[in-house]
């Protein structure tokens, strides 16, 4: 399968196989009017299988969302058909309005205007807890 090169845009590489669609949705790529390619289960010498997303435009990416869903992703910024910048993603210490707290006793369930903020409390096991009620993110 051949997907053409992009001139100015972003390539999200090394996405864990199967997480491409989640990233597509969480990054709001469905709302873009430019060309976007989601490649599932591409062959990878390092990972066996991986997903790749190509975006035919340089946009502001929510790197926290990216790091929360799949911290192994590489972000490649393409300018004039060449790699202008490569960025590895860290696990974010804090994520805002990416997921919602599921604890029915949490203040965020009754006060809709509050931001849903989760804080990384255990980096090793990637555990996030709600800033307000400390419930574990699910």
């Amino acid at each position: 399968m051949i997907i053409g090169q992009i001139k100015d845009g972003i390539v999200l590489d090394h996405i864990t196989a199967g997480k491409g669609m989640t990233l597509y949705n969480i990054l709001g790529l469905d709302k873009l009017d430019c060309q976007v390619a989601l490649i599932k289960n591409a062959e990878s010498s390092k990972m066996g299988r991986k997903d790749i997303i190509k975006i035919d435009k340089v946009i502001d990416l929510n790197l926290d969302a990216l790091g929360y869903v799949d911290p192994g992703v590489t972000v490649n910024i393409i300018k004039d058909g060449k790699l202008a910048k490569r960025q590895n993603i860290d696990i974010p210490k804090r994520i805002v309005n990416i997921i919602k707290c599921k604890n029915p006793r949490c203040i965020t369930t009754v006060e809709q205007e509050l931001s849903n903020i989760f804080v990384l409390t255990d980096k090793e096991n990637r555990v996030y807890r709600c800033l307000y009620c400390e419930s574990k993110a699910k």
Binding site: R105, I107, Y132, E134
Partner: protein, 304 residues
């Protein structure tokens, strides 16, 4: 201005200092009677609580300050749909410090993020209740002479019991403290508390379903109430309500210098006949709550 939302925000030194001041208040109340003259405490209680609210109000009045507030969300603008943030901003113009109880977890944190005056969490759902923990610590300090080398039995609802979680967190910072966790299987302590407060700190603890088997080992027996409001299912509440009831007979095999604590109110988990036992400390504990709150109000208002 600093707030107190979670007991973990206080260092061991700060807790020791609060306990020292509270002890001095008990010994020399007159010295403190005008420390907060001209200051106003707002008690914003979105959920009823007799003891906590009255002890906060009594604490501020005993410091020479004044009190405003409400004791039920039906009597506040929350019943009209006002947010916690807005209520806090308004009240901040009328008071110097806020004590807030709210049925939703995290509400006092939201308040503290929306004001320049100190906010004290007076209980947020099943989450935190730091001034109850401070009360417990003052009680332990006065009745046991310190915090080290104690075996603490926590009995009853260890799943939803916020006072238990906070007490474990606070006591886990002292030397050679052992916890015995006594509860039915359905109300066992959550795994994350075990992992973060006990296992991560290499603390000794035992889980058991039998109070009788362990009561003779305890220096402190902390009883808790199985609370109806923490259950979504009435049948579960009724089934577990009577799991552990402390009676004079059960106390026969306990140490002579055991202290029995309870955050109160009790329903039936401590038989009234235990009240006359010199080891029963829970009414004293409730009295101590006022003095530690006085010390806390002074600290947060930076009154010397």
């Amino acid at each position: 201005m600093r707030s107190l939302i979670d007991i973990r925000e206080l260092s061991v030194d700060e807790i020791d200092e609060l306990v020292r001041v509270a002890n001095d208040i008990i010994d020399n109340p007159a010295k403190y009677s005008e420390k907060c003259k001209g200051k106003i405490l707002a008690t914003l209680f979105f959920e009823p609580s007799t003891r906590t609210r009255l002890s906060f109000e009594s604490a501020m009045l005993s410091l020479g300050g004044n009190v405003i507030g409400f004791s039920d969300s039906q009597n506040s603008s929350a019943s009209k749909g006002e947010s916690v943030a807005d209520t806090t901003k308004i009240v901040s113009g009328y008071a110097d410090i806020i004590a807030m109880r709210h049925p939703k977890e995290g509400a006092p944190l939201v308040a503290s993020l929306n004001t320049d005056i100190p906010v004290i969490n007076a209980g947020d759902g099943g989450h935190n209740h730091p001034t109850q923990t401070l009360t417990d610590l003052l009680t332990i300090n006065r009745e046991k002479g310190g915090f080290d080398n104690l075996t603490i039995g926590l009995c009853g609802d260890l799943k939803f019991g916020r006072t238990v979680h906070s007490l474990i967190s606070a006591m886990s910072r002292y030397k050679n403290v052992k916890f015995i966790l006594i509860s039915p299987d359905e109300l066992k302590i959550p795994d994350y508390i075990k992992q973060t407060e006990l296992e991560a700190k290499n603390l000794k603890y035992v889980e058991t379903t039998s109070l009788d088997d362990v009561i003779n080992e305890l220096d402190i027996l902390y009883m808790t109430r199985v609370q109806r409001e923490r259950f979504f299912n009435e049948q579960d509440y009724i089934r577990l309500r009577d799991s552990y009831i402390l009676t004079p007979k059960k106390l026969e095999s306990a140490k002579d210098d055991l202290i029995v604590m309870h955050p109160l109110p009790r329903v039936n988990e401590i038989s009234v006949a235990v009240d006359d036992d010199p080891r029963a400390c829970y009414f004293k504990q409730a009295r101590y709550g006022k003095f530690i709150r006085m010390a806390l109000i002074m600290k947060l208002l930076e009154v010397k």
